[in-house]
């Protein structure tokens, strides 16, 4: 080997990726150590977020005296279903559950339809007072629910609509956020030409909405449905004011009285919270695809 042997490449500066024909260099992928740090950070964050849920599930299978044992033990020993039994036999849990799920589904279905319809009208039609109406609707986003609670309650009572099954869904059927979201999506994603083509084919305006617009709105509607379901399912203040019969409570109210009891019934609250989370998980799983598409809509240049 001659003395003129070139230096090993490791000593040379890192080669830069070659530019493409337009002169753009491809984005550099993160270094291995960077990725390891990223994954470690994400793993720690995952643990932080998941740990309370794991603890709640674990605690719901422990005897009351062991729930807060120190040091904490995630594997119940002995494991017991007694807490679930006590919850289901001693409280009208399934009734609370049924009321919550039913009203949340109803509110979601109505809200999704109303938001799509209103968003379509705001996006594609001209009518008198449109700007004012939209501004009023948009500005209502900044009003906390607590402020409108009393007037809304009086309105519901005075108009004779205080039947809980109906009144429970009233505040959620036309959320300003949903209408705004639909309006924005329709403006960005549905060209007027499609609507004109449908009109030429003889479709009515409502038919256009049902057959042309609504199918195209599936991604944002999925995202809206998940958001709306959570809003209604978790609502506390409105059902609290509205319902006075403990047996007709919604789940948040029911779990709250167990938690707020003088002796903090964690042995009932934890299994209740675990069961209460099932519908939200199911809704997320069912609408996951639409949710992700809806959230990322417009984020990638077409």
């Amino acid at each position: 080997m001659s003395a003129a042997t070139p230096a090993p490449p490791a000593a040379a500066p890192a080669a830069r990726p070659a530019p493409d024909r337009k002169g753009n260099r491809p984005r550099r992928r993160g270094s291995r150590s960077g990725r390891v740090a990223l994954y470690l950070t994400l793993s720690v964050l995952l643990l932080v977020f998941v740990a309370p849920m794991v603890w709640a599930v674990s605690g719901s299978f422990k005897p009351r005296g062991d729930i807060f044992e120190y040091p904490p033990n995630l594997i119940p020993s002995p494991a017991t279903l007694e807490n679930f039994g006590n919850l289901l036999s001693g409280q009208p849990f399934w009734r609370w559950f049924a009321i919550s799920v039913t009203t949340a589904l109803l509110a979601t279905a109505v809200a999704v339809f109303v938001c799509a319809l209103a968003g379509f009208a705001f996006a594609k039609y001209r009518f008198a007072g449109k700007r004012v109406l939209f501004s009023v609707m948009f500005s209502s986003l900044s009003v906390p629910f607590a402020v409108i609670l009393v007037p809304l309650f009086v309105l519901v009572v005075k108009s004779g609509l205080s039947n809980p099954w109906f009144a429970l869904i009233v505040p959620w059927v036309a959320p300003a956020f949903g209408i705004f979201m639909m309006q924005q999506y329709i403006i960005q994603s549905i060209p007027d030409e499609i609507l004109e083509a449908a009109r030429i084919d003889g479709a009515s305006e409502f038919g256009i909405f049902l057959r042309v617009v609504l199918p195209l709105l599936r991604p944002p509607l999925g995202a809206l449905a998940v958001w709306q379901f959570l809003q209604s399912y978790n609502s506390f203040l409105w059902p609290l004011v509205l319902i006075s019969d403990t047996d007709s409570y919604t789940l948040p109210l029911g779990l709250n009285i167990l938690f707020r009891a003088e002796n903090r019934s964690f042995d009932l609250v934890l299994p209740g919270a675990v069961l209460a989370s099932v519908p939200t998980i199911l809704v997320f799983l069912l609408l996951r695809k639409q949710l992700l598409e809806g959230l990322s809509a417009g984020a990638v240049k077409g």
């Binding site: 120190y70 402020v147 009572v157 006075s244 709250n256 009285i257 009891a261 003088e262 903090r264």
Partner: protein, 459 residues
């Protein structure tokens, strides 16, 4: 017992429209807390004077429902009332009972006949004319036993000299200690002063990592202030004086906060998020906390459910005294039961409350069933109560301790601005515990902030 229809104090002549205007302005800030000032919307109903009545009964604790059902049966069996009551209970969180009641009153329907108003939530009804508008005065109902009722338990539920609710308890603050642990580490259980206990507790903490007290530092701001308030009242101070003026910036306040901050910083006072919750249970179970000052109800709602395995180990005693003054006990907690006014069941509701809460036999039963202390002074001499031995507390005759200190119990007063104080004072207490502020500075700044907040909320 049939009650004559009492003459309620005349509220201002306010319409519901004005009420709603007031509510609109105050609703967001106080979550209905100030929304009903001047509710003139309650329609006066012809009162039912006898017979079977269905009473809507709102409370945060199921135990009250069972207690009053039994009281109703007892009164009916004794023929002591023209009414027979059937309770229709609604349970909600303590503050939620007040929120619901105010909201329903605004809507002009659906208010309860009887409401249990926890003392931490009751100040919301002291604002403006709320109490006078919503609640039936009970002065006539208690006239026969007024001298025997503990003034210290009627004062918090009174406004402008009118009594609006009867307290469920005379929740004296005593010192709980886990006797075997104190014996094991050689801590004397009969130390006479906090200063002596502090010295002994500090040594025990250094050697055995135990705590002889706890303060609450969690997100429930009322609980944070409660820790401080118990000792403040014992030392002779008060949050609010009898005119409702803030009084924390005092020598007593500074002395108590200095004591507590020292305990936290030296480690012999533990900090927990919730005295009834997970952190406290862990501290009790692990043997980290072996003593604490707390109300009489803490045995039932704090110790028994959290550390049932420590049955037989706990004892109570009067609080050690502060060397510079004060008494050997204090108060914390309580729930006043009130009847809603101008309803057809108002008389029946008042009759149920008095039947359940004023007779000596029911006061004895209340202690035996619920652990709540009598609110009539004469019942403290009850032989039955004095002989009662408590299994969880190792067979101790706890009532002897209560009778020994009941006459030392301090009077305290509520203010409609108590929620504001909870908000501003809790943060400064935590800073003083951490040593970020001197106790004097913490109390002075809390006072300044309180006055700033209440000025702005009233303007």
């Amino acid at each position: 017992m049939t009650l004559p229809s009492p003459a309620p104090p005349q509220p201002p002549d306010l319409t519901r429209r004005r009420l709603l205007r007031l509510g609109g302005g105050l609703g967001a800030a106080g979550l209905l807390g100030g929304a009903l000032t001047g509710c003139g919307g309650t329609a006066e109903a012809e009162p039912v004077t006898s017979g079977t009545v269905d009473l809507s009964f709102w409370t945060h604790d199921d135990a009250y429902v069972e207690y009053f059902r039994t009281a109703a049966e007892n009164a009916a069996a004794a023929g002591a009332s023209p009414f027979r009551w059937r309770l229709s209970p609604t349970r909600a969180g303590a503050s939620d009972v007040v929120t619901k009641t105010i909201a329903q009153a605004i809507a002009g329907r659906g208010t309860p006949d009887v409401a249990g108003l926890e003392i931490g939530a009751f100040p919301r009804l002291l604002r403006g004319e709320l109490a006078a508008e919503l609640l039936q005065p009970l002065d006539d109902a208690v006239a026969d036993v007024r001298d025997d009722l503990l003034t210290v338990r009627t004062a918090p539920f009174s406004k402008d000299g009118t009594l609006y609710a009867l307290d469920s308890d005379a929740p004296l603050v005593v010192y709980y200690y886990r006797e075997p642990e104190w014996g094991r580490i050689g801590l004397p259980t009969d130390l006479g002063s906090w200063e002596e206990l502090a010295e002994a507790g500090a040594q025990a903490h250094r050697r055995h990592d135990v705590c002889v007290g706890q303060v609450t530092v969690g997100s429930e701001l009322g609980q944070v202030v409660q820790s401080f308030d118990m000792l403040l009242m014992q030392r002779g101070g008060t949050l609010f004086d009898e005119r409702g003026e803030l009084a924390i910036d005092s020598a007593e306040g500074e002395a108590v906060l200095t004591f507590m901050a020292r305990g936290v910083q030296e480690g012999w006072i533990a900090t927990v998020a919730d005295p009834m919750g997970p952190s406290m249970q862990a501290a009790l179970k692990s043997g980290h906390v072996i003593g604490l000052w707390m109300a009489t109800w803490y045995k039932i709602y704090g110790l028994v459910p959290n550390v049932p395995e420590q049955s037989g180990e706990w004892r109570i005693r009067p609080l050690p005294a502060f060397r510079d003054g004060g008494s050997r006990t204090s108060f914390t907690g309580g729930t006043g039961f009130a009847a809603l006014r101008d309803k057809e069941n108002t008389l029946a509701a008042v009759d149920l409350i008095t039947a359940g809460y004023l007779t000596p036999s029911e006061q004895v039963r209340r202690f035996l069933d619920l652990g709540y202390l009598p609110t009539r002074r004469s019942v403290y001499d009850s032989g039955e109560l004095l002989r009662t031995e408590d299994e969880y507390c190792g067979g101790q005759r706890m009532f002897e301790v209560y009778r020994g200190v009941i006459d030392e119990a301090p009077v305290f007063h509520l203010s409609p601005d108590k929620p504001v104080l909870d908000t501003v004072l809790s943060g400064y207490l935590l800073r003083a515990y951490r040593g970020d502020l001197s106790p004097r500075e913490a109390l002075r700044r809390a006072t300044d902030d309180f006055h700033g907040q209440t000025r702005s909320s009233r303007s």
